[in-house]
């Protein structure tokens, strides 16, 4: 029995590892599989991936995993220390279970991360590749706008946006995205400048391809890998910025279990009841670290310059 399964696995692997794929799908899968192999050989990146999969799992099954209702207040039970009866991580100033709040808070964190990761790099990619490919006055205008955004400290600019738009998690996400896109635009433009004069872009131009096709089909695929890496490395900063806005009372509003807002609530008791602020802080730390580790691993896999030389 075991013999059959081994040969099947070998056949399957050989099919993926072949240097003469027989179809489009096989070629694509094979290149994905090679990426996965090189990613898997990096234990730190795998650790990051496992933590993030855990975060996804937690967010998806929060109602099943949380031992208590995150909004249920019992003032009699307030500020219980960790490992106390029925509250693994203790309770906060209103007697709410901190573990349950962190578990539910993972949903908000994922929402922030997902939306910022969708908005900012896409905006940056658009601005950067258009500026880089077309050049001339359009490049100057787009890049000076980018410079203006870059000149502001990120949190201060986000603060200004939230103050103008009104407090709330949705506006906080928007504000963070608005402050996060300029570095992506710079990266995308720099990549585009090195790509645009290469022979393979000239070659496709000689087939009569227009700028739209060249940018979307030929330049984007080469920019995206470095942007993905940058996104994962930035995610830690995004979570912290969201937490910072929450901490300042401009992000998620009480009683929302957003991690930054939880720290903000806990700061009043930080000397006597350290766990109220520490536990969500540890959650932020863990997820930020996981994103950083994942980003490092992805850089090794996706960076076209590291892979193409050989």
């Amino acid at each position: 029995m075991s013999d059959i399964s081994t040969t099947e696995t070998v056949g399957w692997r050989a099919w993926l590892m072949t240097d003469a794929p027989g179809s489009r799908t096989q070629a694509r899968l094979a290149s994905l599989y090679n990426g996965w192999l090189s990613f898997r050989s990096n234990p730190m990146a795998m650790a990051g991936l496992v933590i993030l999969l855990g975060l996804l799992f937690t967010a998806a099954f929060a109602p099943l995993l949380a031992p208590h209702d995150p909004f249920y207040q019992t003032l009699a039970n307030r500020l219980q220390p960790p490992l106390s009866d029925g509250h693994l991580l203790g309770t906060d100033s209103l007697g709410r279970d901190i573990l349950s709040r962190i578990i539910y808070g993972s949903r908000i964190t994922l929402q922030i991360v997902f939306l910022v990761a969708v908005i900012a790099p896409v905006a940056g990619l658009l601005v950067g590749t258009i500026a880089g490919y077309t050049g001339g006055w359009l490049d100057v205008i787009l890049m000076r706008i980018t410079d203006i955004f870059l000149a502001f400290p990120r949190l201060v600019l986000a603060l200004a946006f939230v103050a103008a738009l009104g407090a709330g998690i949705g506006n906080a996400i928007l504000a963070i995205s608005l402050t996060a896109w300029p570095p992506y635009a710079r990266i995308a433009r720099a990549e585009t400048l090195t790509i645009r004069n290469s022979d393979y872009i000239s070659a496709i131009r000689l087939q009569g391809a227009g700028p739209l096709r060249i940018i979307t089909k030929h330049i984007w695929p080469l920019c995206i890998s470095s942007l993905i890496v940058r996104v994962t490395l930035d995610m830690a900063g995004v979570i912290l910025a969201a937490a910072g806005l929450g901490f300042l009372g401009l992000g998620a509003q009480p009683p929302s279990p957003e991690w930054g807002a939880m720290i903000s609530e806990g700061r009043k008791f930080i000397l006597d009841h350290w766990w109220v602020a520490t536990m969500p802080g540890l959650a932020i730390f863990t997820v930020s670290l996981a994103f950083n580790l994942l980003g490092d691993g992805l850089r090794d896999v996706l960076d076209p310059k590291s892979g193409e030389g050989s």
Binding site: R24, A27, Y200, G208, A209, E308
Partner: protein
């Protein structure tokens, strides 16, 4: 009938004090079905003439015509690109690193509005001596010679009548060079192509072309037939110098031929 005409072609880069004149007053023509070589040392403006014709070098003056139809500016029509194709010098740089051979050829065919993509791709790969097993490979899974064959297949895809060859073998191993050059000779016969070829290697040009133009510092100093070149009948001192310098190669070629 002349397929390509160049008359008083000037090409320059930059403006004002930074202006560099890459080509100065180049005049020559390539008859239909001929193979014409441009030789000269690096930086003499050979490749720039090709790049000006296809619109990659934007600043030029003079007259260029393809099949009697003059080209203007740096924008070229689809019909132009269907008729005139180019093979680049470095096959490691001329293929998109994230596209399979199949994707490259399929997109080229699609851009030229050619149907029956599946069969056409297989036929193109056979034409350039690559089997169907190379179809779904990425460039990094190919050797230099195989990559250049893919680049040649891409140039052949729209069924052009003129192919511009920008030192197509200089980035390749000596043993592979001969294979690719023979392939180009065979393709020219099979598809009645007109070649305009740039090379610094007189042996390559002697093998491929009927007439050559010798360039020095952006100017064409002499246009001669390959027979004259083999017999060292050069009028211009620079051509003589160039022939002397490559005597090792040309001498061998002559002995081989005799």
């Amino acid at each position: 009938m002349s397929r390509l005409e160049f008359e008083g072609l000037n090409v320059w880069f930059g403006d004002g004090p930074d202006r560099v004149d890459a080509v100065k007053g180049a005049t020559f023509e390539v008859p239909s079905g001929a193979s014409f070589g441009l030789v000269g040392e690096s930086g003499s403006g050979k490749s720039t003439i090709l790049r000006a014709l296809v619109g990659l070098a934007r600043h030029w003056s003079g007259r260029m015509a393809v099949a009697e139809a003059p080209v203007t500016g740096f924008k070229r029509s689809k019909a132009f690109y269907k008729d005139v194709q180019m093979v680049f010098q470095d096959p490691y740089a001329s293929l998109h690193p994230r596209q399979t051979v199949d994707a490259v050829l399929a997109e080229t065919l699609k851009l030229h509005g050619i149907g029956d993509v599946e069969n056409r791709i297989e036929q193109l790969l056979l034409d350039v001596g690559l089997g169907p097993k190379f179809r779904f490979r990425y460039p990094h899974q190919l050797s230099g010679g195989q990559r250049q064959r893919v680049a040649i297949a891409r140039a052949l895809a729209p069924e052009p009548s003129v192919i511009l060859l920008d030192e197509p073998t200089s980035a390749l191993d000596v043993s592979v060079q001969a294979e690719v050059l023979n392939l180009l000779v065979d393709l020219r016969k099979a598809h009645q192509l007109t070649y305009l070829m740039v090379s610094h290697d007189l042996a390559v040009v002697g093998h491929m072309c009927e007439r050559i133009a010798v360039m020095q510092a952006g100017e064409i100093v002499e246009i001669m037939s390959v027979e004259d070149m083999r017999e060292m009948k050069a009028a211009h001192p620079y051509t003589r110098q160039l022939l002397q310098a490559s005597l090792g190669y040309v001498g061998e070629e002559m002995h081989g031929g005799a």
